[in-house]
């Protein structure tokens, strides 16, 4: 029974027994758990003056306190929640847009429709991301989590569209796709059943990469003071640290730890991606 299941889902078996995937997933889950359960571990509020200022990490304040006496651990875990959420929504939107445009452009490869879609994509590639993000967010006076996600996603999708398009181009002349076409199946049906289902593993890896990229873009905007207008975010914690000269004052717990957690989480996802790559491409499996 179990062995039959694994035979059918061979890719999944290779994926879940890959050391890099296991390591990455464990680290990633730890960070996610910190974001979910972290707020339960702390008796403080993130805006509250929780103790003496300038305290190094201790049992009472896990990550020390800021120069104002706010608890860095509390701020970090609440900020982590917001940043991960924005990154996740933005990554999902960007992957969806990229896939839809990529599938359509690839399936109609070589036609005028394809050229127009690619022209549209190239325009977005050329317009400088960060500059556009800064200008857009500067003029939107109130920014919630959803607005932030849309802003980040708007500039994150083009490379996905390009990559998915070239994958679709190579799939669409396979015989089974031709067969579906001869049988008179609709375009949407062919895209869904024949092409998208065969690219599932690829799209999943694209999604992980998008998630990484959107989280970095999000934290960067937050750091520049262009994050959500209310609440706390990881980038905001780090911006405070720079503004209050935490680096010069040697407060490593404030200036380094919050960013370290995010970096570890993104690194873990990189490991998952590399492991999945090896699991899904038999060519790389022996490496």
């Amino acid at each position: 029974m179990t062995s039959e299941f694994w035979k059918e889902h061979e890719n999944l078996y290779y994926a879940l027994t890959n050391k890099k995937v296991i390591f990455g997933l464990v680290v990633f889950s730890l960070v996610i758990m910190l974001a979910i359960f972290g707020p339960l571990l702390t008796p403080y509020d993130y805006e509250e003056y929780a103790g003496d200022p300038y305290l190094a990490p201790s049992a009472k304040h896990f990550f020390g306190t800021t120069i104002m006496g706010k608890d860095v651990f509390t701020r970090t875990v609440y900020g982590l929640r917001s940043t991960i959420l924005v990154g996740f929504i933005a990554g999902t939107i960007a992957t969806l847009i990229g896939c839809i445009i990529g599938f359509l452009a690839g399936y109609f490869g070589g036609t005028l429709f394809d050229e127009l879609l690619m022209m549209f994509t190239n325009i977005f590639v050329v317009i400088p991301q960060l500059a556009l993000l800064i200008v857009i967010s500067a003029f939107l006076k109130a920014r919630g989590i959803v607005v932030m996600s849309v802003i980040v996603a708007a500039t994150a999708w083009p490379w996905t569209a390009r990559a998915v398009r070239s994958q679709t181009l190579s799939l669409k002349n396979q015989e089974y796709v031709n067969l579906s076409r001869i049988s008179g199946l609709g375009v949407m049906r062919i895209l869904k059943d024949d092409i998208a289902s065969n690219m599932f593993s690829y799209v999943f890896m694209v999604f992980i990469q998008q998630f990484n990229g959107t989280m970095l873009a999000t934290v960067q905007l937050e750091f520049l003071g262009l994050g959500p207008t209310r609440g706390i975010s990881l980038g905001l914690v780090m911006q405070d640290a720079v503004n209050w000269n935490a680096i010069q004052l040697g407060m490593w717990w404030w200036s380094i730890i919050p960013g370290l957690i995010l970096t570890i989480m993104i690194t873990a996802l990189y490991f998952v991606n590399t492991g999945l790559d090896a699991a899904f491409n038999p060519r790389l499996r022996e490496m």
Binding site: P128, V135, N212, Y270
Partner: protein, 329 residues
């Protein structure tokens, strides 16, 4: 080949028009009345109100219908007249941009090119050496996962604060007068090291990962296996693999260089470095619309020109691109 360039030029033109239009629309979509904000800020200054009003009629020509305003905006672009900065009154926007761009270039060009060279070498090395791969790859992943400004903070903390080797703020000491003499250049270089190093490290990871994957891919391709079967030396196969693998990296380098202006904005923030990214951010927070429009336009123009140059260069370094567009393959 003509068709290829024709298509590219059309895309770039459309992009430029869209970018300029965004630039035109944004101040007009602003919530509140930017003009009143500007006027109130200058009402206390001698003659300020008149100058600003003249500025506004010049740039916005608000009495005209929208379409006329739009064409006037285009005219001001081609005459290089972006107006006068509000933040640093009364310096013309174009002068501020020129001054800040130099800092960007001196900081970013060396860091991007050096990280590209070193990253490619290390990546290629770890692609063929399993032991090195196991040690180097986690480091590369970590480097390319870190936000620029976080790594900048780490570098500043350890090399600047703990060891005290380098200053961590500004582009030169406050007591210095910018000028072309040894003392100033030395002081400038000392301030340059840490921003340079943090940009270099973050970029390094990405290049190395890309190169490593390309090398592994090339090594398992048919031509490599064929050469191996013929008894070619390992070094020879590796050289061929490197030549193929480096092509996408060249595209990446070119795109990175294209986005160079304002590309170090967060690092500049950490080190209080007076590049264009910082100026842009200040313009945002001070609601200096003229300056903001000017910078955005400068960035877009740079990006477009650089992309176009890349397209041309790529034809020379990759024979396949050249041949496919002249219809020989």
């Amino acid at each position: 080949m003509g068709r290829y360039f024709g298509k590219k030029i059309i895309v770039y033109l459309i992009t430029f028009i869209i970018a300029v239009t965004i630039n035109f629309v944004i101040p007009r979509m602003m919530p509140g009345d930017p003009i009143q904000i500007l006027l109130s800020r200058f009402s206390g200054m001698e003659g300020g109100r008149e100058i600003i009003e003249k500025q506004l009629t010049l740039l916005f020509s608000l009495d005209d219908p929208l379409i006329v305003q739009y064409f006037k905006f285009w005219k001001s672009i081609f005459t290089g007249d972006f107006g006068i900065s509000i933040m640093q009154f009364p310096t013309p926007v174009i002068d501020i941009i020129k001054k800040a761009i130099i800092y960007d270039l001196i900081l970013l060009i060396p860091s991007i090119i050096l990280s590209w060279i070193v990253g490619n070498k290390l990546g290629a090395f770890s692609g063929v050496n399993k032991k090195a791969d196991n040690v180097l790859m986690p480091i590369f992943y970590f480097l390319s996962s870190s936000p620029y400004f976080w790594l900048a903070g780490v570098v500043a903390f350890f090399l600047g604060v703990k060891l005290g080797w380098f200053p961590i703020s500004g582009a030169y000491s406050a007591t210095m007068n910018p000028g072309f003499n040894l003392k100033f250049i030395f002081d400038y270089l000392k301030h340059w090291v840490l921003p340079f190093l943090s940009m270099f490290l973050v970029e390094l990871g990405g290049w190395a990962i890309g190169m490593r994957n390309m090398i592994i891919y090339e090594r398992s391709s048919n031509y490599s296996k064929y050469m191996e079967a013929l008894g070619a030396s390992d070094k020879c196969i590796r050289r061929y693999g490197f030549r193929n693998g480096v092509l996408p990296q060249v595209t990446g380098l070119a795109l990175r260089l294209a986005g160079i202006i304002g590309g170090a904005i967060t690092v500049e923030t950490v080190f209080n470095y007076p590049g264009l990214g910082r100026v842009m951010l200040n313009a945002v927070f001070n609601q200096d619309y003229f300056l903001l429009q000017g910078i955005f336009l400068a960035i877009v123009t740079m990006t477009l020109v650089a992309n176009f140059v890349v397209d041309i260069i790529y034809m020379f370094i990759d024979p396949r691109v050249r041949l496919s567009f002249s219809g020989e393959v």
